[in-house]
Amino acid sequence: MPRLDKVAQIPKPDKIFVFKSCVASNKYPGIEACSSDSLRILGIEPVDSDEQTCCGGFVTFANVAAPTASMPAVARNLSLAEEKGLDTCVVCNGCWTFLNEFGHFMNHNAEVKASVNMMLNMMGKEYKGTGSVYHIAEMYYRLKEELAENVKRPLKGIKVATHYGCHYLGGGKYTAIDDAQMPSYLEEIIEILGGEVVPYTANRECCGTGFTQVINGKDLSLEHTKTKLDSVKEADPDILVVQCPYCHSQLDRIQQQFNYRDEGDFQTPILHIAQLVGMGLGLDVAKLGFAAHVSGRARLENVLDRIGR
């Protein structure tokens, strides 16, 4: 059950700083396009900045950079939103955890904050720690009423399964808007959009990316992804909705690799929650960016045929 007290604390601002994610921009541009456009339809003007870089979470937890390098990078990105007096909205679980966790850390450690600010001062910036970071799924859940009013293309009869990913609920054990073990807010969003929720056993399992394991421990990663995909296939949803572009990329691409290596026939389209909401809100099909999807393309077309293009 969602923690409604936490949800109520999320503001409904006029404008929000939309933090772009690396995978969303460069692999699945539909996520980037849909996140901004859907927020605009729901009454929040997205603001972005081309000075915004990556969150730096990947390079940090890949141990290429020490936290001493990541703290200022996080502070720099957060200060871009602070300059404008806005909160930040991210589309990726990784960005959410990383910005939140390290931001929280600096806010509670004056010494570190001072040394980070010394570095930022050199570039004419300052990190105050006033802004908050929200995940776009949180924002959608907060804007439930607005969402319900604006559904233009109901997902009638579409079976949707959910995958929450690890770094939002796991890392946000006490800060996320839902319980880490049995979340249900994505299901609620799907029902608002008119879809039909399909449960499956491995819902709360990791997608198998294993952060860097997909690169240097590929056997482990693939083995885990296979169990996940097998369970998804059993439930046979029309769409598997995720809220993290990294999970999106793993689940989408690994299906194809299995298919090519004759280790199964996986054809489940993976959609980011921003794309699903964009679809429900009636965004132009080109904006959904389905051309960048690797697996289940035929099924995706079929879904579009059923709900109208």
Partner: protein, 337 residues
Amino acid sequence: MSKKTLVIGGGIAGITAAQKIAQNGGDVILIEKEDALGGNFAKLTYTFPVLGDAKALVSQEVQKVQTTPSIEILTNTTLTACQGSVGDFSVELKTLSGTRQEIVGAIIVAAGFHYMEPTAYTEYSYGRSPKVVTSLEFEKMAAENRLPQGNVRVVFVHCVGSRDKAKGYVYCSKICCSYSAKHAIMMKKANPQSKSYVFYIDIRALGKGYEEFIRSAMEEHNVRYIRGRVAKVLESEGKLLVRAEDSLMGNPVEVEADLVVLASAMEPPVGSRDLAAMLGIATDEYGFFQDVESNVRPCHSSKPGIFLAGSCTQPMEIASAVAMGGLSASEALAVTR
């Protein structure tokens, strides 16, 4: 003339205290907020470490207090106010028919405990799957002969809410190890075809015969004990998948189960802090009533004239609750004469 003693709580500790005072010539008002005496004891089917008939035992004790003329029993009654000091407390009781004032010389708090509702343990599917039950619900199932039949696997999970800083309490609930063994044996007796698995962290058998009792579950009743805390219980095609680590072997394991029994923590009785504030006595960080000195004065509350008995002070088995009821009775008699 001696004064009356007010006993709060009609569980086994309260019943014992009332009996002992009456045996020694004192007068007692025994109040119970529910409509029958017996407390948590009355909800059980068997006792441990000797499998005694819990219902028969407790009704025998209840009958004793009911037939003693110097014990006035007020069910559906709560304490609403308390003033005064040792030897002269004026208390206000709210009964079904209205409020009444009483003057008592001493008060014995035997408010019992509450089985934690493990609703926070969403990883165990509690509340979502009807096949995941608490130990108390298991007792009820056993009493009503509703235990699963046939070739089934039953998983018992220790430490649900105990020894858990994140979702429950840091303390150990002390009796779960023993009663889970009891449940496993009950399961085996009710359905010899069934297989029982107990997931434990440490086995704490803190009483006479307890270790032998738990060993007998393993040795005579063929219950599998696996060291490791259950990580999650998933529903899959009508079965429950129980994931845990067999931490003695260091391997993750999965059990396909038909029933999962959660040994939920013993927590302070509902409203213990309010009751403590009304009486002017201290509670500990969890809400259990605080004794003034736990070694030699376990039943003295922080206020003279108010004594504590039973599991409202700490998780406790029946035998200790009875002993503590007797102890607090003698302390109460000492100040009411």
